[in-house]
Amino acid sequence: MEHLQTSPTLKPGETFEQQKKKFDRWWFLVFGVILLIIILVFLEPDPYQRIVLFVSDGIGVTVYTTLVSFVLVLIFGLIGGLGRLSKNRIINGLATVYVEVVRGIPLLVQLLFWYFAFPSVIKNFGSTLGIESLANYRADPLLMAILGLTFCYSAYMSEVYRAGIQSISRGQMEAARSLGMSYVQAMRFVILPQALRVILPPVGNEFITLLKDSSLVSVVAVADMTRRGREFMAANFIPVQTWLMIALLYLVLTLVSARIVNWIEKKTRLER
């Protein structure tokens, strides 16, 4: 999606203040797609309105799954990123192994693992040890899907954090420490606020990729937009209209996300 993000660059003679206030023209593309959906729904309620109504709960599930996973990814990615930067060999080693292993396995396989294999491992464990509650363990699809997405994306995100923190000059940490700040204080007040600005574009990119990849949870019994689309198609046999509408709905979500990322990026620019 990078090509759609169109980072704000200054035109000659333009100040940051002017640029901050300027309307982001890429919103027109978003409005265009929304308009197209509305036209389709009104001009041909059958099947388009039916499709939208049928998958509407799936839209909620897709958005919810993505948002919850992403908040968790932001937290665990930070932990992973700091682990990758740690001078402690054990912590560093664990973080590195985690990142390398996760990046080497397809997300779909990971999701299948969390949904099918993980609960079965827990069950076996429970019955061997005679723990009733574990032996009867039943995986909640949504929970497992969020777990799977978070586990995978946190690995990628920790690399984003690591690169961002490394891009801040060493002098910043030294100045903070020489003022008596602890490592945690220096990270929190000096390094991370700067690193977050740097990594905003790749973080936004991760969000949009996560949003799209969340469609994979449809194979592990989560009734997201994609799964609802498949159900609609199975009942009505109109693949072209169904997948056109689903595609447009995803497109609205990703385009809006890209604009929001762009807006935050402009807002948080450093004055210079």
């Binding site: 030294e174 903070a176 420490r177 020489s178 003022l179 008596g180 700067q194 450093l270 210079r272």
Partner: protein, 243 residues
């Protein structure tokens, strides 16, 4: 009198490079010591060992009678010792005022109001009270370095370390920074200054030290060291920087 900084036989390695090879130096309260020497002679490393930005491998450094043996003590020493860097290292995402108040609030646990009062006093002292709400990168180099000095002073340090504070500045801005440092010296601040500014050394320093290859080669008053050194290496170095 007990020295406020006691350095004894300090050795420091970076991998196989030996940056310090047994440096001993005592600095008394209120003294201003200027360190000169060729590039790579270990000047910065010595300064950074004093506030433990750098660990050393052998020897002892005692600052203000605080032994540097635990993490808390290291932070305690760092609050007693202010440091000014060649590259200023101001926090670019914070306004000048916030640069000065951040550590006061986080480390000294001062209230916002108290911290800001101190910040404004110090900005006045370094001659840029009107820049409180500006961001660092909007300032000239000289102004940035004066803010950096004020930021360090806001912690009420007993000692100030300066690592080539004017080397990154355009010539016309050097004096404004040196003036601030001269004022500090007059007020009796203990200062260790790595700098080749001879004018400053002569006006403010009690002692000048020449380092070379990780060792203190010669130590004298600035006038004697600059005009009448005894060591060959000092003469050689001075002849290089004087032309």
């Amino acid at each position: 009198m007990e020295p406020i900084i006691h350095i004894k036989d300090v050795h420091k390695y970076f991998g196989r490079v030996q940056a310090l090879r047994g440096v001993s130096l005592d600095i008394n309260k209120g003294e201003v010591v200027v360190i000169i020497g060729p590039s790579g002679s270990g000047k910065s490393t010595l300064l950074r060992c004093i506030n433990r930005l750098e660990e050393f491998d052998h020897g002892q450094i005692i600052v203000d009678n605080i032994p540097l043996d635990s993490a808390e003590n290291i932070n305690l020493v760092r609050t007693e010792v202010g440091m000014v860097f060649q590259q200023f290292n101001l926090f670019p995402h914070l306004s000048v005022l916030d640069n000065l108040t951040l550590a006061q609030k986080a480390v000294r646990k001062r209230s916002k109001k108290e911290a800001e009062e101190i910040a404004f006093q110090l900005l006045k002292k370094v001659g840029i009270p009107e820049k409180a709400n500006v961001f660092p990168l909007q300032l000239s180099g000289g102004q940035q370095q004066r803010v950096a000095i004020a930021r360090a002073l806001a912690m009420n340090p007993k000692i100030m370390l300066f690592d080539e504070p004017t080397s990154a500045l355009d010539p016309e801005m050097i004096q404004e920074v040196l003036d601030v440092m001269l004022d500090l010296a007059k007020e009796g601040m203990t200062m260790v200054v790595v700098s080749h500014e001879m004018g400053f050394a002569r006006a403010a320093a009690n002692r000048a030290i020449l380092m070379d290859e990780g060792l203190i080669v010669e130590e004298a008053t600035p006038d004697i060291l600059f005009t009448n050194p005894t060591q060959e290496r000092t003469k050689l170095f001075l002849s290089k920087i004087l032309d």
